[in-house]
Symmetry: C2
Subunit: 230 residues, 2 copies
């Protein structure tokens, strides 16, 4: 967590965070012991996560209503003069749910976004190997893409990060094999958390992976000074 | 800066950092007021930066010797029982000079890498717009790539980050025009620093940009809930 986020949280009066219904919430758990006991908490519980397929038109409608509702509450707090902190896992502008609030609110109340360490930085750091060197191209892919799209992008890049794994695990592994990147891939689960695991993808097959795990293929870039290594 | 990096720095006894000869050093300047006065500093001055073209074989040889020399010094400190902190701007494993030390040292002394906020996170946050949504593909390109390679990657991605601008500015602008991404591009100089500037790239042409500026094109991804916006 950044020093700036830490400072904001220690003096927080109002804190909002997303969570799955019935859970404590990952983001909320991370700030345990940092938030003052007096902070008023506003858990924003997703009405659905994986119960309805993304392609079902109801999914769209239900989540839209959810974001509109929570945004209305946040807006009313801000207009009553409160400073509200919205917790995000990773960088607020890099994928994630916060943007759906941000886009709805930004023309109505002032919003300050604090950049953060992305989950993918935590993941490649956990492998103990640099992700990109020299002129390497880095491509970040969501496992939800079609297999053909995955293969095309995996083939035409040096370094590779794949997120949103879960049910897409087998499709992603197939695509990596077709692209010739499978043997070089790593799987990182729960990056930077106490339960973090790091392994070669070849050792993880038939095992699956949680939705929030990350697959990484390191760039082998132009290592200008390799000739001089002793 | 992360809380963890801040803590390490406040109790630092030995601190190493890269800088251009004759400069104070960007990374060193950022930690002014955090480092204890008693910390022993080891500035690692690049023997060349832009005086010799990258393609000159001397460039390779000179920098190789430089990395070998500074690594030897860091190794001797570590083997004498010292904890040495190497300052990095951005994430240590995401491009940058630290990896050339890391690769030479990692089999000889224990190294702990602290992930950090990347310069590109700072840059897209400064634009006030999310960089990636839903299934967006993000591609990170170095301006040092050949124009054809730039165009190909710029065409086949949603969101785009381009780093190492400087002398490559005109080539990058041309490539963005060919790829049809020029009008949507933003230029951020000195992201997160006091002298930060943010502008549309169309307003920056004929102006050039420093080497460490960043160009960003935001993804327009699958905004699942756009239909419900009110």
């Amino acid at each position: 967590m950044s020093v700036r986020a830490d400072r904001l949280l220690r003096s927080a009066r109002q804190v909002a965070f997303f969570r799955k219904a019935g859970r404590k919430g990952q983001a909320r758990q991370i700030v345990d012991g940092i938030l003052p006991h007096t902070a008023v908490e506003f858990p924003m519980e997703y009405p659905v996560t994986t119960e309805i397929p993304l392609t079902d038109p109801r999914y769209n409608a239900i989540l839209s209503e959810f974001y509109t509702d929570v945004t209305a509450h946040l807006q009313s707090l801000a207009q009553a003069g409160e400073n509200v902190i919205v917790l995000c896992e990773g960088d607020p502008f890099f994928y994630g749910s916060f943007m759906h609030i941000y886009t709805r609110l930004k023309d109505h109340v002032p919003i300050e976004v604090v950049p953060a360490i992305t989950g993918m930085s935590g993941a490649w750091t956990a492998t103990g190997l640099p992700i990109t060197w020299g002129d390497d191209v880095l491509t970040v892919l969501m496992g939800t893409l079609a297999k053909d799209d995955l293969v095309r992008h995996m083939t035409d890049t040096d370094a590779l990060v794949i997120m949103k794994i879960g049910n897409n695990f087998d499709k992603i592994c197939d695509a990596l094999r077709v692209a010739g990147r499978y043997d070089a891939a790593w799987l990182i689960e729960f990056a930077t958390m106490p339960q973090q695991t790091v392994m070669r993808l070849v050792d993880a097959t038939d095992r699956g992976a949680p939705y929030f795990s990350i697959i990484v293929v390191h760039g082998q870039g132009c290592r200008l000074w390799a000739a001089g290594w002793s």
